[in-house]
Symmetry: C2
Subunit: 219 residues, 2 copies
């Protein structure tokens, strides 16, 4: 199985601008990428980062995991870059050679979670994200193509149905939770991987209990 982790390093995590400076957002994006790649490795697979540019992680040893991951550069849109992988005529996606696409900001992912997703049978397997996203995707049929814009969960379901492909969904809070907006940080703090948690702790975040849901606030 080829596991691709798309990563746009150009202005990562811009929707976190209200609570993190640009260099912090960059560090958080790399922390999450490193946590995700480490988890892919822990499932016994090798991640390929599908990146807009060369990776330039922070120098700490926490990011060493990124030193020996494969890199494919593609600065086109996510759907175009992924569809190029799926359209690979030399090795089209099949049950013997599945292709997985795992988002780089799934800070909560764990090896058992990812294994549950990657080992679910189906021409197309989706772990839906909040707001109708597609946070993890396994493709085992050459006819499938992606459309990540908008409510991609609905679009991917429609594309699979249209092409007569079976589709399975994976019900996982850890895979559903991508970290994009300030309200998401509390989930990374409570349940996130080690590099992500360390980054948030060092940035001075702490739990805040107010009316409604618990949130993460900065000291």
């Amino acid at each position: 199985m080829r596991v691709f982790v798309p990563f746009d390093g150009r202005e990562p995590k811009s929707r976190l601008e209200p609570v993190l400076e640009a260099d912090e957002r960059r560090r958080l994006a790399y922390a999450m990428l490193a946590d995700v790649c480490a988890v892919v490795k822990e499932t016994g697979r090798e991640p390929t980062v599908l990146a807009t540019d060369d990776l330039t992680p922070p120098g700490d040893e926490a990011f060493d995991v990124l030193e020996d991951v494969s890199l494919e550069r593609d600065d086109r849109s996510l759907s175009v870059a992924v569809n190029d992988v799926l359209a690979d005529g030399r090795q089209p996606p099949s049950p013997e050679h599945p292709v997985a696409i795992v988002m780089a900001d799934l800070a909560l992912v764990r090896p058992d979670t990812l294994e549950r997703c990657l080992s679910t049978a189906g021409d197309v397997v989706i772990a839906p994200g909040r707001g109708g996203g597609t946070n993890a995707l396994v493709v085992r049929h050459g006819a499938f193509r992606t459309d990540y814009h908008g409510t991609s969960f609905l679009d991917h379901r429609a594309i699979a149905a249209d092409r007569g492909l079976s589709l399975e969904c994976v019900d996982s809070f850890r895979l559903a939770t991508d970290i994009d907006e300030p309200d998401d940080l509390v989930e990374a703090w409570l349940h996130g991987g080690p590099r992500t948690r360390t980054m948030l702790e060092e940035a001075g975040f702490q739990l805040q209990t107010t009316r409604g849901r618990v949130t993460l606030e900065r000291r």
Copy 2:
């Protein structure tokens, strides 16, 4: 297994006030309660609604499922009411007689999801909710008590550890998603049970794709 569904009918879903009138919030609360109770029944178990008052659902037949559910009235706080159940000396929670507490606003729950949770072994089993909540809970030991205020997931984990009880977590997007705030409605619309979806459709909601996550807006 006794399955309790706590329901506070006094001012239900007040945090949805920006997008729904009081009678609509009430209808949505009952739609979600009915969807949850129907799912409990579909797993072959009988729900007991632990309610602050008698149930007064809308008259439509969609709510018929609530006519023959057991009702226990308790208008004290959630933790106190649940702890009273757990402290029942005649039948304390045990592996043979587990007690489950399933929130009434888990609009996305399905029979397979709930079965996965209820059949997970452990003295204490938690399906964490967003923001550190405890959306579903299974108790198989008489020493456990709840504290639903604040970051109850962390508190429940600490209480279990403190009393030497084993704790397992269930990783489920459907169980993690309680419907409390306007941003949550999109999940109910995309993945929710039949009564909840019908209510939202009748209220005129539709998907809105803007920068960031997809949301639900009212026409």
